[in-house]
Assembly symmetry: C2
Homo-oligomer: 225 residues x 2
């Protein structure tokens, strides 16, 4: 456990749990709907599994999450106390959006972008059947330059290798630009007009494709004047 502050103040008591590195990001992942160990891992890929395991235990012990075993599935689910951390995560995200716009190179992880996007697909807007969207980041090392989303009516998979199916549209952009769009720092239309994000594919799909993705939860946060 994090060490104690020796204060009865509820802010201090809350932070004894929540100020430990990674803890609140795990809560964020759970708030976003992740429930399985390896699902959570994909949201915090720089964490070692050991540490993720430790943090999950702490959250369970603190009454924030519950480990639920259903048949062969192991799920970590927020308790009511955990669910009530949503406003905390939202307040932090809104603040971060407004006051920490500058991103370093090391903040730009395509893996996380795709993982985020796959969770926020507007399945109603995507064509019926299987739709494959390709992403190409010319500025990124070959290893992680190309990604695919395989979207079906109720699911989406992130692939870092060509899944082999026909590609509906391809997004080509610097990683930073697409992340800026995703975060709401840059509008789709501005990005497309300026050419910092390009969409290739049949006209109809190309026009529709930006609408397939609901942007980050924090994209609508108003920026400081």
């Amino acid at each position: 456990m994090g060490s104690t502050y020796g204060q009865f103040c509820p802010v201090a008591k809350a932070m004894e749990l929540l100020d430990e590195r990674w803890t609140l990001l795990i809560v964020r992942e759970m708030v976003a709907g992740s429930r399985r160990f390896n699902e959570l891992r994909r949201g915090v890929p720089r964490m070692s599994p050991t540490l993720l395991s430790k943090r999950l235990h702490q959250l369970v012990r603190a009454g924030v999450a519950e480990k639920r075993i259903e048949g062969k599935d192991v799920l970590y689910v927020l308790t009511p106390a955990g669910e009530e951390l949503r406003p905390v995560v939202e307040a932090l995200g809104a603040w971060g959006t407004r006051w920490i716009g500058e991103l370093g190179e090391e903040d730009l992880d395509p893996k996380l972008l795709l993982w985020d996007m796959h969770r926020r697909i507007d399945h109603g807007a995507v064509p019926e059947g299987r739709t494959v969207v390709q992403f190409e980041f010319p500025d990124v090392p070959a290893q992680t330059r190309r990604w695919w989303l395989v979207i079906t009516s109720d699911d989406a998979d992130v692939c870092d290798a060509d899944p082999g199916y026909d590609v509906a549209v391809t997004f080509t952009a610097s990683l930073r630009s697409l992340i800026r769009v995703w975060r709401g720092d840059l509008g789709w239309s501005d990005a497309l007009r300026a050419g910092s994000v390009k969409v290739n594919g049949p006209e109809a799909l190309r026009r529709a494709a930006p609408g397939w993705f609901t942007l980050s939860t924090f994209a609508p946060v108003p920026r400081p004047a």
Copy 2:
């Protein structure tokens, strides 16, 4: 600085700054109105001055606080960005109030209770002139058993030694009980009726004294059913 998460998510970016030990408690103190170094120290007495100094520098560098030198005074003042952390502190405090009611012995610090109380005195409710309120915690080691608040029309001082003036009323309680009242875990009337907090002094003052203190900001937070 706290190490980075390598994530563009605004929650992660916010936590890179705020998840460091003590940081948010300092922000809490500033939100509560403390501005001078030694004033801040009294709100986080377990911090070494070195570390407080370091944290203040970080907050300044992050644009959350501003170091303002006015004549011979050095003040740390929240910037607009810092002021906007108030909702974060409030969300955390509300959550902590609702879900972390259990306090360990080491959380019960009379120094912090008195420091908190002196900030929330309802000066309009206290009699004119100088009013001295004494606190006695029979369960606490002699060193920190007795405290005094010297209240004037627009100021209040915390003393750990008898200031020598006439005492208007004396509160006698276990430290835990008075903290529970302060936090809103236990109502004044319940505490007085049960005798876990006692007030001594002239009848009129004795009756009025609980009204001299506005309870902790989080006392009104509704508790889980």
